[in-house]
């Protein structure tokens, strides 16, 4: 199951390079006092482990003037969770949760595949229609939560149950593959497989979405409203914040993120697969957000932390894959990590630990 680990103490140039960069990021995060410091530190630790125990982990190669390598794979494969985590961060910050993001990814991917294969649609429609559907799904969730006042867990569960059925409906049960002969093939495949500035295009998409989200939340008052509503819903309403609209917006935005992620995934595997697309990714997204420092109860959020958390999860998974675990077996460490992190964050846990400490230590604590 787990291949024996071989220690290799020499550091190659690229290994040193990566370690140095990560160390710098950790120090920067520490100085800026952002919660992202924790996942970044964990990433750095993981990098150290890989530098010594995993052969060629940090090797980068140039092929066709594009950059390849394991770190690049991590960035690319982690793009889905990074995108989902962006929306999930805002939803969790308002005190809610969205379990339907995986299903929405499936719907969006299915729509794109069918548009290309069955309808020979122009690229612009292949982009626009799945996104529109995803936005509608997000809006649907938002309406259920803010207007009908249904618990977020329950409201998004509905789409989680029905969503893949809708995706199946769109593909009529098939898994439409997209091959060269179809009209929008080149442009579409570029999304998941193309390169921009030497890096996979997916990374650029994530960067752009991150920028948009950051601008929306920090350059407008939306970020403050989201934190306010999540921290104290009543007081926010008394202060005149329109909590309903805020919640509506964050769920819709999450739908958008899931839609984009679905497009990238479908482009990557060149298939619209209603049952596999986005499967179990909602937990990864929630995990990334929690690791990144946003509390499940809502309030202050950190986009940077969530993205770092998503990268950490992807790096962990990749490391485990290389060392012989299958991606499904990797679920075990992931689950343990999630429960541990939540436990560490839980105030009840702190209370119990404090009670165990001897009285002297307790007073200092």
């Amino acid at each position: 199951m787990i291949a024996s680990l071989q220690l290799d103490l020499s550091l190659t140039v690229s290994e040193s390079g990566f370690l140095a960069v990560l160390a710098a990021l950790v120090v920067l995060a520490w100085r800026l006092k952002t919660p992202a410091v924790w996942p970044l530190a964990a990433l750095a630790l993981l990098a150290v482990f890989n530098a010594f125990f995993t052969v060629d982990f940090f090797e980068l190669r140039w092929i066709d003037s594009h950059l390849f390598g394991i770190p690049i794979d991590i960035l690319k494969n982690g793009s889905y969770v990074m995108l989902l985590a962006l929306g999930m961060t805002l939803v969790i910050a308002t005190g809610g949760v969205d379990l339907s993001v995986g299903a929405v990814m499936a719907i969006s991917g299915a729509a794109a595949a069918v548009l290309i294969k069955e309808h020979e649609a122009p690229f612009i429609l292949v982009l626009a229609i799945p996104i529109a559907i995803a936005l509608a799904a997000g809006l649907w969730n938002g309406l259920l939560v803010s207007i009908f006042k249904i618990q977020p867990l329950v409201a998004t569960l509905v789409l989680m149950v029905a969503g893949r059925g809708v995706a199946m409906l769109i593909t009529e049960g098939f898994r439409p593959t997209i091959t060269r002969q179809y009209y929008a093939y080149d442009e579409f495949v570029y999304i998941g497989n193309g390169f921009l500035f030497k890096l996979p295009f997916a990374v650029t998409i994530v960067a752009v979405m991150f920028a948009i989200t950051a601008l929306l939340t920090r350059k407008t008052a939306l970020g403050m409203f989201v934190e306010s509503v999540g921290d104290n819903d009543t007081a926010s309403r008394y202060a005149g914040v329109n909590a309903r609209v805020v919640k509506l917006m964050v769920y819709t935005f999450t739908g958008l993120c899931a839609g984009v992620a679905g497009l990238i995934y479908t482009s990557n595997i060149r298939t619209g697969d209603p049952s596999k697309t986005g499967l179990y990714l909602e937990l990864d997204a929630i995990m990334a957000v929690v690791i990144g420092g946003t509390a499940l109860t809502g309030g202050r959020f950190s986009l940077l932390g969530s993205v770092a958390g998503a990268l950490l999860i992807q790096a962990l998974t990749t490391t485990m894959l290389i060392h012989g675990l299958s991606s499904d077996q990797a679920l075990v460490p992931k689950a343990l990590v999630v429960v541990t992190v939540c436990l560490l964050q839980a105030p009840e846990f702190h209370r119990k630990i404090r009670r165990l400490l001897p009285a002297g230590k307790r007073r200092a604590a």
Binding site: L153, V161, L283, D328, V332, A335, V339, L343
Partner: protein
């Protein structure tokens, strides 16, 4: 004389109506194709017995105000564990999974009953562990059981990635000889249905005739009040999740008899959602405190009927089931919200 109906019965009555309506519709639409037959009804039960078993555990969890997302994964874990333990390495040494390699050679193959006992015990303890985490550290149930879902599925994969058929003679015998009861020609009622109905009866008894059951309702209705009343909240909650773990692993056992194999990847995928859907459609409030086991039975039957109708229809794809179930869940949730709001308004008068 005005007939006063407690508001909590309304969703249950609605479910019953839906069930009857669906059945009548089916009879009307497919009368020519033998829809109206005992065989069909028997099939409804037999094909969904293992969903039913899982849903019984889920009902108690939801009644107590929680939720359990780990059901399907525990089914998978149980099934592959049993399959691996029953495996005879002498038959095909290559097939043995890594975990089985760790066990002393003469332990395998185990008698299925021993394997079942081990698997069910593990599944039950798994539930206990989740219940403890949820209660003592006040972690949200959805998160702990979501983690549990991943953990159980991952452990199943660690036991063995591919599925494994069970060729142990005990299974073969039971399945062919002792399993089916055929009262009338063409009507097969497998043992599993009796298990389900038996469990249902026990659960019914526990819910309505034991303090434990009433405490479950109390905690779901108002945990604060339950605490103030001095009810054993911790014990009850942990017991609820323990029982759910037991039901999930029992469903896994049912799966092995049904499919004669253990499957870490394919077993129970989405089962937790189906179970929750059955419970909700059966009239139990997702917030807890209100609901009926009878409702869950109705919910399971509705689920089964929808699938059956789609089968009979022939042209609609099977995933319509998911969509219809999702829609029904939504409708019932909205109904529940509406009824709760209405009864609160009525109280003010």
């Amino acid at each position: 004389m005005k007939l006063r109906i407690d508001s909590k019965y309304i969703p249950l009555m609605a479910s019953a109506l839906v069930l009857v309506g669906l059945y009548v519709a089916g009879c009307a639409a497919f009368a020519d194709r033998n829809f109206v037959s005992l065989g069909v009804i028997a099939k409804l039960f037999s094909e969904n017995a293992f969903l039913g078993i899982a849903a019984i555990g889920a009902t108690f969890v939801i009644l107590s105000g929680g939720i359990d997302l780990s059901v399907g994964s525990v089914v998978a874990f149980t099934s592959i564990l049993i399959a691996t333990l029953c495996f005879d390495p002498a038959l095909d040494p290559r097939q043995v999974g890594e975990v089985a390699q760790l066990l002393p050679a003469d332990w395998l193959p185990m008698h299925p009953l021993a394997a079942i006992a081990i698997a069910v015990t593990l599944g039950t303890l798994f539930g206990t562990a989740m219940g403890c985490l949820i209660h003592f550290f006040k972690l949200p149930a959805f998160l702990v059981t979501l983690g549990g879902m991943f953990l159980a599925r991952g452990l199943a994969f660690m036991i063995r990635i591919e599925s494994l058929s069970i060729k142990h003679p005990f299974y073969a015998e039971t399945i062919t000889n002792r399993l089916n009861w055929t009262p009338i020609d063409g009507v097969q009622i497998p043992l599993i249905v009796f298990c389900f109905l038996g469990l249902f009866a026990i659960a019914l008894y526990m819910a309505h005739f034991r303090r434990f059951g009433r405490n479950v309702y109390a905690i779901g209705g108002s945990e604060e009040s339950a605490n103030l009343m001095g009810l054993p909240v911790a014990k009850t909650r942990i017991l609820v999740f323990t029982f759910a773990g037991f039901c999930s692993s029992l469903a896994g056992v049912a799966y092995t008899f049904y499919m004669a194999k253990g499957d870490s990847a394919g077993a129970g995928v989405g089962l937790e959602l189906d179970a929750i859907a059955a419970v909700v459609i059966g009239g139990t409030l997702l917030s807890g405190g209100v609901g009926f086991l009878a409702g869950t039975l109705i919910g399971v039957l509705i689920f089964a009927l929808i699938q059956s109708l789609i089968n009979f229809q022939g042209t609609l794809s099977a995933w319509w089931t998911r969509i219809i179930v999702g829609v029904l869940v939504l409708v019932f949730i909205l109904l529940q919200n509406f009824v709760t709001a209405a009864s609160r308004a009525q109280q003010k008068e």
